[in-house]
């Protein structure tokens, strides 16, 4: 599948069909999931209705991790095999990941005020998520600061792979340090600790966010491939004129 899509022309044909399918499914699932989460899921017995923030906060964190996984995978493939499409995937995922990391931090901060009595605390999970946002922003700044495409891709890939060390730190921050942030409640030994009536709409919203991420990634990859093609065509046109 990956070998088949590694060709930009084949990828463009595939993404032309796949992008609207992902987008329509994402809109339908997020629409249904939003009503379910906001009106039908039960309120938390301790946090009351404020726990409904979880239905955007947690899926945003999942997309932030997924986008970084795509970036790290793409960066590794680019450094090993020098495949341009892998770099396009990494580059496309960066903006999406940065936005969802910011959404996760902001919604978490808003949720923290009524729950913990503070907007922000320098605990392990919050600080490592903030570091993730800075890595995303650093990657975007680095890519736009280097005009040479090959050098920009290589420098970005190295930064991304070095920054990947932060991912296990985020994951285990709630285990390694005594933090205000609650420990893992879904992927944990002994199964999820969340009641099924809250877990189900949360997973549903997570699916909607992931489908949206898929649609956005494909759309941004298409835009970057077209941008590269336009640069090649403009160069060819100039060559033929001169």
């Amino acid at each position: 599948m990956f070998n088949y899509l590694a060709n930009p022309d084949r990828f463009m044909r595939f993404s032309k069909i796949a992008t609207p399918i992902f987008a329509v499914l994402a809109v339908a699932i997020l629409g249904y999931g939003s009503v379910w989460s906001l009106a039908y899921a039960p309120a938390d017995y301790l946090q009351g209705q404020s726990a409904r923030i979880m239905f955007v906060h947690v899926p945003a964190a999942w997309v932030a991790f997924s986008a970084y996984s795509v970036m790290a995978g793409g960066s590794l493939v680019y450094l090993v095999w020098r495949h341009n499409l892998a770099d396009v995937a990494a580059n496309a995922a960066s903006g999406i990941g940065a936005t969802f990391t910011a959404v996760c931090l902001l919604s978490g901060s808003i949720w923290g005020r009524p729950t913990w009595g503070t907007w922000w605390v320098w605990d392990g999970r919050l600080t490592s998520m903030l570091v993730l946002l800075f890595i995303y922003l650093g990657y975007i700044a680095l890519r736009s600061a280097i005009s040479d495409k090959q050098k920009s891709a290589s420098a970005g890939a190295i930064l991304c792979l070095v920054g990947a060390v932060n991912i296990p730190i985020i994951r285990y921050s709630v285990v390694w340090w005594n933090t205000l942030h609650q420990p893992a409640a879904i992927i944990r030994k002994g199964g999820p600790s969340i009641h099924p009536e809250i877990l189900q709409p949360l997973l549903f919203m997570g699916l909607g966010f992931m489908l949206l991420f898929g649609a956005l990634l494909l759309l941004k990859m298409r835009a970057l491939i077209l941008q590269n093609r336009a640069a090649v065509l403009a160069h060819r046109l100039l060559d033929e004129i001169s």
Partner: protein
């Protein structure tokens, strides 16, 4: 999803048990970010699609002119 709404009326739903400012601000930020990302990505793709078509047309025109007047 055969279950009852957690709110008895729309006013109660908007008030979110006294947490309206927090819940709607968090959801609003997520909504604005998602809509912004979708619009930007769509415009970016559309812009470069038009640019590629324009450049291809210019290149074809030039080649056609060269073939007609070698």
């Amino acid at each position: 999803m055969f279950m009852a709404s957690q709110f008895t009326n729309f006013q109660e739903f908007l008030q979110m048990g006294g947490y309206a400012g927090f819940v709607w601000a968090a959801w609003g930020i997520a909504f604005v970010a998602i809509v912004g990302l979708v619009i930007r990505a769509y415009q970016h793709e559309k812009f470069w699609h038009c640019e590629v078509e324009k450049l291809e047309a210019q290149l074809n025109q030039k080649r056609q002119a060269e073939n007609e007047n070698p």
